[in-house]
Structure formats: structure tokens, C-alpha cells
Amino acid sequence: MGAPSRHILYHMVQCSSALDSTFAAVADPTRRGILEHLGRRDASISELAETFAMTLTGMKKHVAVLEHTSLVTTKKEGRVRTCRIGPRMFEREAAWIASFQQMIDDRFDRLEALLERTTDE
């Protein structure tokens, strides 16, 4: 293990409780469904309850778990509480895309280098 790995390990230990609650939040299939739904569009608690065939109380509990880990944010306007995807979800996807991008760029850079080397074939 190199220095970067130790650094990550340090973070993992330091952040373990936050990680635990995040993993617990997304371990539930209904909550993953809620994240997927909110990824497409914002929704009120009652809309979510209807979509997932659940009581308002049950849905409030799920949303509270997601809100606690910043995967979802909510805002009360009048009698309606609107849920939207939280900043953490965007960060996660952005970080994944950035690393995926690095992999793809490395691959095509190699392709281009190969084609330059073999240009006179």
C-alpha cells in the first residue's frame, strides 16, 4: 500500500460513521428507488408515497434517512414538502464520471499514439 492508500484509509476511519449512514441509507431498495425518481424530477412527499405505494408516515421516514446523509434535500412550501436530489448525489456522480473519464482518455490517448507510430504502414 502506497501513501495514497494510507491517506484513503485514514479518511475511511475518520469518516466511517458518515460512510456507515450513507451505506445504510442506500442499502434499502425503496430508498434507492426514491433517489432514482428524484434524479429525474423533484417530488413532494405525498407524490413519492403514491409512487411507491406507501403511507405518508412511511415515506417521511425514508426521506428523513436520505436527508440526514444529504443525499436528498427537502423544502417546505405552504403545506407541501418538496424533495430534491441532494448535493452529495451530484458530487458522487461527478467523481465517478471524472474517474471514468480518466480511464477513457488514457485509452484513446494510447490509440492516437499507436496510430501516429504506425502512420506509414
Binding site: 495514497p4 492508500s5 491517506h7 484513503i8 479518511h11 475511511m12 475518520q14 469518516c15 458518515a18 460512510l19 450513507t22 434507492r32 432514482e36 434524479g39 429525474r40 444529504s70 452529495r88 458530487e91 458522487r92 456522480e93 467523481a95 465517478w96 464520471i97 471524472a98 474517474s99 471514468f100 473519464q101 480518466q102 480511464m103 477513457i104 482518455d105 488514457d106 485509452r107 484513446f108 490517448d109 494510447r110 490509440l111 492516437e112 499514439a113 499507436l114 496510430l115 501516429e116 504506425t118
Partner: protein, 160 residues
Amino acid sequence: MTATTIRATITTPTDREIHIERIVNAPRDRIWRAYAEPALLSQWWGRGNQLDIERMEFTRGGHWRYVEHGPNGIAGFEGRYREVTPPDRFVRSFEWDGMPAHVAIEFVTLTGMGDGRTRITIVMQMHTTAERDGFLHSGMQQGMDASFSELDRLLAADCV
């Protein structure tokens, strides 16, 4: 890191797709060969890592399997060709050993741009959003060295 790198465009147009586009400075037929011929493919697909092309039956129904030997371990990829239409399109199933039996369908299209360059378009379709995220996450697993800073940032974000 090179300052002049032409970057690929990577988007997630739907919750079950990854769309990749990159313009490469070479004509279409040469890029097709770089995909079709194992001796060429092994020189670039592994991004500088040793790449064993264990199977390469580049025809409809044929199997393919690549094994990449990276600094942090071995990663295998495999699938079967669904369509092979030289010199500009092939479609194949794509499975990463890290997510066994989660199969994506990969559409690769080469489009000549009329100026000696070629646009490579890759669309990866998955069955579920979880699978798509898993494939995106595979970039972290495979590109570990390049991605340590990303992973650090991700983990640091968990401390908020």
C-alpha cells in the same frame, strides 16, 4: 498529464446509459483495424497496462475476452459480438469481472469527419441505474492511480 489532451465527452443522457464521444486524429479505416486486430488492440486498450487478448472472434456471435494487468491487480472484460459491420460499427455485450453477470450492451460507431479525423461514439446501455453507476465506478477501480485524488475527494465529502 499532458496539457494538450483532447478529452472525451462523457454524459449520462438517461439513468441507464453512458455516452462517450471522442475525436481521434486518424481516418476511420485505421481505427477500425485498431479495434479489429488483436496485435493492435493490445497496444492501446489497456492504457499502457499489459493486455492479454484471450479471445477475439470478431464476428456476429463471437466471444471476446480481454485481461488487463494493472498495477493494482487484474481486471477481466468479456462478452459476445451482436453485430459487426466493417468499417464503422459493432455492437457487443460487455461484462466486467468486477460485476459478474451484470451485462451492458456497448454500441461502437466510427464516423469519418471528412478531414482525416474520426469521431468514435460509444454508447453503453445497462439494465438498471445501479448497474450504470457500477460501471462508472469501475473507472475508479481500474484507473486507481489516476483516480486516487478523486477517491480522496469523494471520501472527504463524506466527512461533511
